[in-house]
């Protein structure tokens, strides 16, 4: 074990992959010598050469098109989109191509070797073009897998699982936590199963569900709630697609209450899908309506970020509202 921040953990997962497969390539804007805008790929070009770790021209559409082709060839394609806000020029290549490659060809071809890494979310004073959480757009597309880690240990294990998974995966990295979150991470290889949520803290009164950077927020709320005598069960969803209905339903059956929190705007956010499914699965066990604490239906702001974000205080208010229903 070694103490790592999330960038080191991601770098370690990429390093293992590059070593493991002689045709694996890392590419994106500035990922070569510079190591990426956040330095997640630092040192990898020196180690694996310019043919396998390289800067691309500034074309997200091109990066994903190239990645689809490389993955279809059979080489692990490790593409980076510098900010999740800039993934939209690549939307067609992801939604119409990556997601449908296997299905439309009757499994003659697939891009299971594709992993797209991209920093998402707020908290870095990035305003409306460096703070978005676009996971729900992609969660509406059959054929993709979507993963969001919450800390360095999770990041390495989930990224390795994403790379090994035989389906295209979009891996959203909480950029606010890149350096802020540190912890013990094995230097050797390991994976964390995709599609499984993790019960981070057991409790009896109410279930709190989040993913990525929002986990830190709901964990703080759980501490505040504990001080007020409320026992929270805290769950990290980890995989948005496919998502672990069973673990969430089991928890809500036990607690009878659910608060879902995510940074993205509330309307049609992934919380809406969870709320709809869980009310169907757990209807007779619910003690109060399922609550959502999310971003406003506005672009992500700059000056009034603190007001905008679903912080621990807002989650706490929802917990109380649910308990008092």
């Amino acid at each position: 074990m070694a103490k790592m921040n999330m960038l080191h953990a991601i770098n370690s997962a990429l390093d293992i992959t590059m070593n493991e497969h002689p045709q694996a390539c890392i590419f994106g804007e500035d990922v070569g010598y510079f190591g990426g805008v956040f330095r997640a790929t630092s040192g990898l070009q020196e180690k694996y050469g310019k043919h396998r770790v390289f800067n691309t021209p500034l074309t997200e559409q091109g990066i994903l098109g190239f990645a689809n082709g490389l993955a279809a060839f059979g080489a692990p394609a490790l593409a980076e989109i510098q900010f999740a806000d800039y993934i939209f020029p690549a939307f067609d290549q992801i939604v119409n191509e990556s997601a449908k490659f296997r299905y439309r060809s009757g499994n003659e071809f697939n891009v299971g070797n594709l992993t797209v890494r991209t920093p998402y979310g707020g908290g870095i004073a990035g305003g409306l073009y460096h703070s978005q959480s676009p996971e729900a757009y992609f969660a509406h597309t059959p054929g993709l897998k979507i993963v969001v880690p919450r800390n360095p240990y999770q990041a390495k294990g989930l990224l390795r699982a994403s790379i090994k998974d035989d389906n295209p995966v979009i891996f959203f990295e909480p950029k606010r936590l890149y350096r802020a979150s540190t912890g013990e991470v094995p230097e050797d290889d390991y994976t964390i199963e995709l599609g499984k949520a993790e019960v981070v803290q057991e409790g009896t009164d109410i279930t709190l569900l989040a993913w990525g950077a929002q986990m830190e927020i709901v964990e703080n709320s759980a501490k505040q709630a504990h001080e007020q005598g409320i026992s929270c069960e805290v769950i990290d969803l980890r995989s948005i697609l496919p998502w672990d209905v069973e673990t969430i339903a089991k928890s809500v059956t036990k607690t009878g209450r659910l608060v879902i929190s995510h940074e993205a705007p509330i309307t049609n956010g992934f919380g809406a899908e969870i709320a709809a499914t869980i009310q169907q699965e757990c209807f007779l066990h619910l003690e109060s309506p399922i609550m959502r604490v999310c971003g406003l239906d506005t672009p992500y702001p700059l000056a009034l970020e603190k007001e905008y974000v679903p912080d621990a205080l807002k989650v706490m208010a929802a917990i109380k509202q649910s308990m008092d229903f």
Binding site: P22, Q23, C25, Y48, G49, K50, H51, R52, F54, T56, P57, T59, Q61, G62, L64, G65, F66, A67, N68, G69, L70, A71, A72, F73, G74, A75, A77, P89, D92, Q93, N96, E97, K100, R102, Y103, R104, S105, G106, N107, E108, F109, N110, G112, P142, G143, K145, D166, N167, G195, P242, V245, E246
Partner: protein, 404 residues
């Protein structure tokens, strides 16, 4: 050099703009309409076997196109696209490749697939989306694909295959990296060819794909079929400048323009392009000029947007032109050709009837291949659907009787 980091700029003191039409790229032509070699041209070396296979493929595709266009009009298939006028461009380029080179096509390149060995029954099974279709009945007619024949399954969105071809070709190159030195080998086993129309060259994917191929030196042959029309939009409403070829030059890619109705010119150009891609590890652009004699698709009616006069001006048949050359080589005669045509027509009709009778894919193909294995939500949805169909078998006659 236009790189600001490069100090050796070509300095000029005259305020002068370069005209957008300053670059005029010539068109390679080898074969005359009468099937002779132009006096100043050099014919490529082509074996009798290859030349005849090329011709037979063009002849087959012409007959298949005619029959399937008719089948669509009769309501037997929902959609069809013929390659009338572009048979030589597609077939001769495919003939110049190695069987293991990857083909990433747009949709009008069925001749390249047939040249590789895709059988008449395979064509029919795809068009009738029956259970023998390699694509499992998921895409509209003419969206063929075959891993065995290195022909990437067609995708409807235009131009998406262009940057993918760059990535695929890059994979073919990375395969040759020396693990110890990190250096590339001097020759690459296989390359990728990417077909697209001049309309698709307006998509962002075209620019992204060409630029990345140039920068990263991907061994890909971009084959632009400039046939004058993108559905109903004529080329002059599609782009300015000197066709698609000038853009290749702009991206720093070796480029050639060929007469797409001239099988020998296309063959020669593609053979050379392949050599450049494989030995120099870099992309090449070929722009083929061959007028689209037919409609864009069966959903299109060119009489609404082009005149009879215009069509009459473009009556050169690429197949006849090549046939005349073959006859002059003494490799073909009219009598055998006529007999072969009759036999192919009969085969096509029989295959069409066979494919029509094959049943549709099984219900489980609805959820297979979305992922490598069905995710839990899909399995749940499938079980619910199966139970529903069992309760209402009359409403779902294609699958009800076959549910396990």
């Amino acid at each position: 050099m236009s790189n600001p980091n490069n100090v050796s700029l070509n300095i000029n003191h005259d305020l002068e703009f370069i005209d957008g039409h300053a670059l005029t790229i010539p068109t390679l032509s080898i074969l005359t309409e009468e099937g002779d070699i132009h006096p100043s041209a050099t014919a490529p070396t082509i074996s009798k076997h290859t030349a005849l296979k090329l011709y037979e493929t063009m002849r087959f595709i012409r007959l298949l196109d005619e029959r399937m266009q008719g089948a669509q009009r009769q309501g037997r298939v929902s959609f069809y696209m013929q390659c009338l006028g572009e048979e030589a461009a597609v077939t001769a380029s495919a003939a110049a490749l190695d069987q293991n080179d990857m083909i990433m096509a747009q949709y009008r390149e069925q001749a390249a697939l047939h040249y590789r060995g895709f059988t008449l029954d395979q064509f029919m099974n795809q068009m009738f989306s029956n259970e023998l279709d390699l694509g499992k009945g998921r895409q509209m007619p003419i969206h063929y694909g075959s891993k065995e024949l290195n022909y990437m399954t067609i995708s409807s969105p235009l131009g998406t295959q262009i940057p993918q071809a760059t990535g695929y070709a890059y994979g073919q190159k990375v395969k040759h990296i020396d693990a110890k030195t990190g250096e590339l080998a001097s020759t690459i086993d296989n390359v990728t060819i990417c077909y697209f129309g001049e309309g698709a060259a307006s998509e962002g994917d075209f620019h992204a794909g060409l630029n990345m191929a140039a920068v990263h030196k991907a061994p890909v042959i971009f084959f632009a079929r400039n046939n004058g029309y993108a559905i109903s939009t004529p080329a002059e409403e599609q782009f300015k400048g000197d066709g698609i070829a000038s853009r290749g030059v702009g991206y720093g890619i070796k480029t050639i323009r060929v007469d797409g109705s001239d099988a020998l010119a296309v063959f020669a150009a593609t053979q050379k392009a392949r050599e450049i891609a494989a030995t120099q590890g870099e992309p090449v652009l070929i722009e083929s000029i061959a007028y689209r004699l037919g409609a864009h698709s069966t959903s299109d009616d060119p009489s609404g947007y082009r005149s009879k006069d215009e069509e009459a001006n473009h009556k050169v048949c690429p197949i006849d032109k090549f046939k005349k050359w073959l006859i002059k080589q003494d490799w073909l005669n009219e009598e055998d050709d006529a007999k072969a045509k009759e036999a192919i027509r009969e085969d096509i009709l029989a295959a069409l009837k066979r494919a029509e009778k094959v049943q549709k894919p099984a219900l489980e193909e609805l959820i297979s291949d979305v992922y490598d294995t069905p995710i839990p939500s899909l399995t749940r949805q499938y079980n619910d659907l199966k139970a529903h169909i069992k309760q209402h078998p009359d409403a779902y006659p294609i699958t009800a009787g076959r549910i396990k």
